[in-house]
Every structure is written in structure tokens, then in C-alpha cells.
Amino acid sequence: MAEPQKKVVRLDELDMGFSEAVAKAGGEKINLCIQCGTCTASCPSGRRTAFRTRQLIRRAVLGFREPVLSDKDLWLCTTCYTCLERCPRGVDPTDVILAIRTMAVQSGHMLDRHKNTASLVMKSGHAVPIDDTNRKTRTSLGLTEVPPTTHMFGNALAEVQEIVKKTGFDKLVGYEWK
């Protein structure tokens, strides 16, 4: 039989300002949470994974900064916003999750696959760029080979690239300009 785990949490391991930082990053109402669990009960991701919205919020409120930011389960929310609509305290849990995610990215916890998605936008203007198959499909349907987007207009792509340089997104993602 498994022994009950004893875990001592030292106060100096906690970041008491963490929930305030989450609030500032866009999860304004995190401190209103009463741990009812409506969010977890509503979560389509939590049904099939270990992702627990209530637990995430509790840990954030208690100040477990690093464990919260480095937890890969943070990235299992599909942003369906069901919890946000149902939360009886108006915590807006999805906004809390999004805020914590931006802080995770800021702290260097961005997933490689997400860096890839971000890089595609910087490179082409599209998170899902055109490919050879769909160039052909478009042509066969009588549409222009590429859509009239950043794919067709080089100056438009240059604008997108100027904007991400200005916001520092390229550096945040570690994108290398070629």
C-alpha cells in the first residue's frame, strides 16, 4: 500500500506576489476563487487528462510560481471558455489560464511546437501557410494560386514582420531572421 505523502512547504519557497502578478497579466479576478470546482467539472480537457483548472488556480493563489509556470498541463486548455461562462464567482478561469501562459512564455517555458507556430506567422503571415497541394487545389477550383493575403503581397508581410519586431515577439520566441 502506498504511504501517504508528507510534503513540507516552506513559506520562503512561495512567491506571495504571484497571484497579483497573474491579475496584472490579465487574470484580474483570480483572487475571487472559492475552489468550488465548477471549472474542472466543465473542462473537456480535464475529462481525459490530469489537467485540473481548480488546482491550477489554487496553486497560483498560494504562490507556487515555478511549478505553475513550468507545468506542461497548462497547455492542455483548448480555450473553449465553458468554465468562464459557468464560474459562479466570475473568476473568468480561461483568462487566468491565458495570463499564466503568457507569464510562462515570458519565463522561457514556451513549447517548441508553439515556437514553430509563432515562427510560421513571422515567416509567412499565416499560422497555417499555403502548401503545394493547396496551391493546386486553389487553381483547380478557379481561385488565385495563393490567397490575396500576406501570401500575395510582400509589403503586407513586411508590415507583419515590423510589428513583431516592434513588440519584441521575435526575441521572445527566439526567432532567427534570415
Binding site: 480537457s45 481525459r48 497547455w75 483548448t78 487545389t137 478557379g142 481561385l143 490567397p147 493575403t149 510589428i163
Partner: protein, 295 residues
């Protein structure tokens, strides 16, 4: 004759680059509806709401604002075909219209590319336009070919939620899309967990494909159990998840559902009597032939 309503036609990524048939269908049904679509030249990714808002909010807002300024310079409201694009552009537009501090910050960034957000247009989703400006009765009156099919309606989360940034305030049990499907002669069948997410959003498809596909699998199983002829959704990303997703699910689990998927504009086009070739219904991973033969 009344003037056609003009819209700035926002394509996004998934529709022009993976499901161009949906773009074609929209271009072909527009004249019948009295809508004039004007291309938003040089538009980019919206950028994806659950993804880019998770990475860096100022960048998300600035790129969305750039897209909005393209429509502003055309003097038209934006029309989107994807719930994700709608989510980003609608929300960014509302934030920028009401929050002067954020607007100033964004305009400081946009100044770099000689653009300015002014807040003079609306962002619309095709489903919302068809429901509110046309309505099921008017659509029913336009039907040339009633579609006697059993349809599993899928709304797509970002069309409905968060309601604080949506026009149609019905997050739990909406009916409007079911009404619009039934107005075309079809039956919207009930199925278990109808409001379940497709599983693609929030960067989950990129981060954890297995989890993402498991959500789609559950939904597809429920649709299959209800004997639906097809899934109809007004979201490009949900189309992708359910259509290509079925191939991925088959490769991973051996389960093959073989449920055709159409975007609502394609479904509407069929009811309006347009030939399937003009609606781009033959480019899906799951063939739609069985559905086309039935009508």
C-alpha cells in the same frame, strides 16, 4: 434593386490554405444573398485567439489591429468564416474601441507601419449575419433544393464564448444554427455532448495532438451513434479537426468513423441549388459523395 451589402472578406489561414472549397462556396453564394465580398488585400493570420493570446497579448492585439485597419480603410464591416478568426477580431475590436490606453499602445506599434486603428467598423461572423440579418424564414424562402439529411450541428466554441465579447448571448444551449440548418429542409439531430469542444483550439492541437484528437474522437463517436449523415459547422478550424482528424484518428487508433464534414456555407449553397463543384465539397479528406448523392 437594392444595393448589395459590402463586406471586407476575411479569409484567415485554415480556409484559404487548407479548405479553399469553403472560400469558393462563400464567393459563389454571396451574389445570391445580395452580399458583395471585397478582398482584404494583405491580411494576415487573425492571429489565432487561444494561441497568440497565450504567447504575448500585446503582439496578438497589434496583429489583430493591423487586420482591422485594412477593413477600416475599405470602410466595410469584416465578414469571417471561422470562429477562431471571429474570436480574435471581434474581441480585439471591442477592446480597442473601449480601452483608450490599449488603443494608444497599439497605435504606437502600428505607427511603425503607417497605420492607425480608428474603431469605425464591426466584425461579423457569417453565421451571425445569416441569422440576424436574414433569419431562418428568409433562408427557407430561398431554398431551391431542400436537403433531406440528418445533420449533427457543431457550433464551435469561439462563435459563442466568451459571451462578454459576442453578439449572440447563448453559451450553453444555443438554437440559432439548428434553426438555420432546419430552414434548409434538414433535420438537426440531437446527440450526446453536442456542445463539446472539437479539441483543436488553444494551441492544444500543436502541443498535445493525442489529447486534441481524443476530444474529436469522442465527439465523432457521439455523432456516429446518432446516425448523422454529416457534421455541419460554421468554423474552418473545426472542419479541419473533424475532417482531417478522422484520418489521424484512424492512423492512431484504427477507428474509422467516415463522417463527412461541411462548412455551413457549403451546406447552404447546396440548398440554394448551386452545383457541388461550385461549392468545393470534393476536396475533403472524408469524401462527401454519399451526402451529395442523397440530396
Amino acid at each position: 434593386m437594392t444595393m448589395a451589402t459590402q463586406y471586407a472578406f476575411y479569409l484567415g489561414c485554415m480556409i484559404p490554405n487548407r479548405y479553399p472549397g469553403i472560400e469558393l462556396a462563400t464567393r459563389n453564394i454571396a451574389p445570391i444573398l445580395g452580399i458583395e465580398l471585397r478582398d482584404m488585400e494583405g491580411a494576415s493570420c487573425c492571429p489565432a485567439p487561444g494561441v497568440f493570446k497565450s504567447f504575448n497579448k500585446p503582439t496578438w492585439l497589434a496583429l489583430a489591429a493591423r487586420n482591422l485597419t485594412i477593413a477600416e480603410s475599405m470602410g466595410c464591416d469584416i465578414l469571417t468564416l471561422c470562429s477562431g478568426c471571429y474570436g480574435t477580431l471581434k474581441e480585439a475590436n471591442e477592446i480597442l474601441k473601449t480601452d483608450s490606453e490599449q488603443r494608444d499602445k497599439v497605435n504606437n506599434v502600428l505607427n511603425e507601419v503607417k497605420r492607425e486603428y480608428r474603431g469605425i467598423i464591426q466584425v461579423r461572423h457569417i453565421a451571425e449575419v445569416l441569422y440576424r440579418d436574414f433569419g431562418p424564414e428568409k433562408l427557407a424562402g430561398m431554398v431551391k433544393k431542400p436537403l433531406h439529411l440528418n445533420v449533427a450541428v457543431h457550433y464551435g466554441c469561439h462563435l459563442l464564448r466568451p459571451t462578454k465579447y459576442r453578439e449572440i448571448k447563448s453559451p450553453e444551449r444555443p438554437r440559432f444554427l439548428d434553426e438555420m440548418v432546419e430552414s434548409l429542409g434538414a433535420k438537426s439531430i440531437p446527440y450526446r455532448d453536442k456542445m463539446l469542444c472539437c479539441g483543436a483550439g488553444g494551441g492544444v492541437r500543436a502541443a498535445a495532438l493525442d489529447v486534441s484528437l481524443d476530444m474529436a474522437r469522442e465527439k465523432l463517436q457521439n455523432v456516429k451513434n446518432a446516425n448523422a449523415d454529416l457534421i455541419v459547422t460554421p468554423c474552418g478550424f473545426c472542419v479541419f479537426q473533424f475532417d482531417r482528424g478522422q484520418i489521424e484518428i484512424k492512423d492512431k487508433t484504427g477507428i474509422f468513423f467516415n463522417v463527412p464534414v461541411l462548412h455551413y456555407v457549403q451546406f447552404l449553397g447546396l440548398a440554394l441549388g448551386l452545383p457541388p463543384e461550385k461549392l468545393g465539397v470534393y476536396n475533403n479528406a472524408i469524401p462527401t459523395d454519399a451526402v451529395i448523392k442523397k440530396i
